[in-house]
Amino acid sequence: MRLGTAGRDTAPPAVEALLRRHRLRAWELAPWLVAVAVYFIFPGYLALGAQILISILFALSIDLILGYAGIITLGQSAFFGAGAYAAGLLAAHGWGEPLSGLVVGGLVGAALGLVSGAIILRTQGLSLLMLTLVIAVMLQEAANKAGSITGGADGLQGMEVWPLFGVFHFGLYGRTAYLYSLAVLFLAWLLARRLVHSPFGRSLTGIRENEARMHAIGSPVFRRRLVIYTIAAAFAGVAGALLAETTQFVALEVLGFERSGSALVMLIIGGVGRLYGAFIGVPIYMIAQDRFAQADPVYWDFWIGLLLILVVVFARGGLIGSIEQLLHRFRRRR
């Protein structure tokens, strides 16, 4: 069916646009430049910085399923927590090598995502939302009951994480933690970016846009959903393991659905389904929280709530969506 006459140099603009879409744009490097600059400019804030990077990775995992496949979830913390406990238990029982701990955390998250997803992804909408929540709550309760293994409400004690590559210690100032988290986030971003631009990623967008149409063009919708759910669970598991290793502690709250909820808020503020929403929403939320929350936690919740309402009402698509619109208008005027 291909017409041989359309030479490679004379492709119509519409074809050209589709062929070029996945190419890296200069601004996509901005978050990484900022992250590296922070390391040098704010050496006193690297512990907070590492927390932010880990939360970005976690929010990115939610973006993959919510923003691309349209799977609404409040239970992503189940995979985060599972990854954290997996890496934490390893380190508490004599294997503190951080990289393998990350891999195990990711695998445990993925396994849990695969098994739970195979069951709950058969449902839609509110039922699905409730089931994701149930999985996280059940897991947290199980971890609470299994106090002899997890430490229960006291948290997991006695983690000993070995130096990274046998050289870089996870010290008090968080330098290693920051760079380690940054490198992991960067790799995860590369992977996620590749994924969303692949045919598989586009088909997820198709599922979000119109599921009936995807069935009608012969797409295995359930399988595609399950695959991305599992991949996102692996991302969350890695993020959890990263938190466990960099803080050398795992508390029950890693499984709490509050983590899923606040990550969702951060993602919505930044912009869902754009891959970069997490990179904007998470730092804004967490830096503001760090600055203001200690002074007056109640008031802090009020302001973040107000911001969320404003974004949802006036800036669908979050801050990134608003920036896109402004640029669009600016280009049109020229």
Partner: protein, 250 residues
């Protein structure tokens, strides 16, 4: 093997309501067949049963001689069964070109690939663009579907289904909601489809039915009332009775 699609005793009930009543139906290969009937006769239900969007209460569906009753929708599409929807069912937030490419990618089995960018499949994009050119949609290739007028969207609906290169194509009121100035190109496109495609058209517009169809099945209250050539159907007193009131003026 000259039968492309066949149903045997196809039934669907919702509680006490029977929406498909023992439908025996045959669609020959290369057929130009219309399914007509008053509102609520169960035409769209029939399409949904055949495509697998609904599962039948009893009965069998055969595609090219193979029993596909138990197969999910996607498997039936892979075997050459495609449909369009009565109401546009498209990726409204994606470009026209990408709507078509999505279907082509699924047909070629490359839509699940993760390790390369979607744009690196030049053959898919080229084929999609040429499909749009044939339907006069090339100039809208980059526009989002939701920005197009409804009539143009109907054409995209057709382009997506054709991107699957179906052996059996079910068109659910292809020209519904299209202004007459634009329905011409839809009818022409349908008329110029490859002869080997078996076509089932569900339509209310009798002019269109008599122009496109060589056989007509009349569905009433979930069951087949009569089947025949357009002349036979036009002359059938039972059909006239069913349509009296709705099409009395014609």
């Amino acid at each position: 093997m000259s039968v492309a699609l066949e149903t045997a005793g196809l039934c669907k009930t919702f509680g006490a309501l029977t929406v498909a009543n023992a439908i025996d139906f045959r669609l020959e290969r290369g057929a130009r067949h219309a399914l007509i009937g008053p509102n609520g006769a169960g035409k769209t239900t029939f399409v949904n049963l055949v495509t697998g969007a609904l599962s039948p209460s009893s009965g069998r569906i055969l595609l090219e001689g193979d029993d596909v009753t138990a197969l999910p929708q996607a498997q039936r599409v892979k075997r050459g069964l495609a449909r369009t929807f009565q109401l546009n069912t498209l990726f409204r937030g994606l470009s026209v070109l990408e709507n078509v490419c999505m279907a082509i990618g699924e047909r070629l089995g490359v839509a699940g690939e993760m390790h390369r960018p979607a744009g690196s499949r030049r053959a898919v994009v080229d084929e999609g663009y040429h499909a749009l050119e044939r339907l006069g949609l090339a100039e809208d290739a980059l526009r989002l579907v939701r920005e197009l007028p409804y009539g143009r969207q109907r054409l995209v609906e057709l382009a997506v289904a054709l991107g699957l290169e179906p052996k059996v194509l079910l068109l659910d009121e292809p020209a519904a909601g299209v202004p007459s100035a634009e329905s011409g190109i839809i009818v022409e496109t349908i008329e110029s489809l490859p002869a080997e495609i078996a076509l089932l058209i569900i339509e209310h517009d009798m002019d269109l039915v008599f122009r496109l169809a060589r056989r007509i099945t009349v569905l009433v209250q979930g069951g087949v009332l009569v089947e025949g050539t357009p002349q036979e159907i036009a002359a059938d007193p039972r059909v006239r009775e069913v349509y009296l009131g709705e099409h009395a003026g014609r």
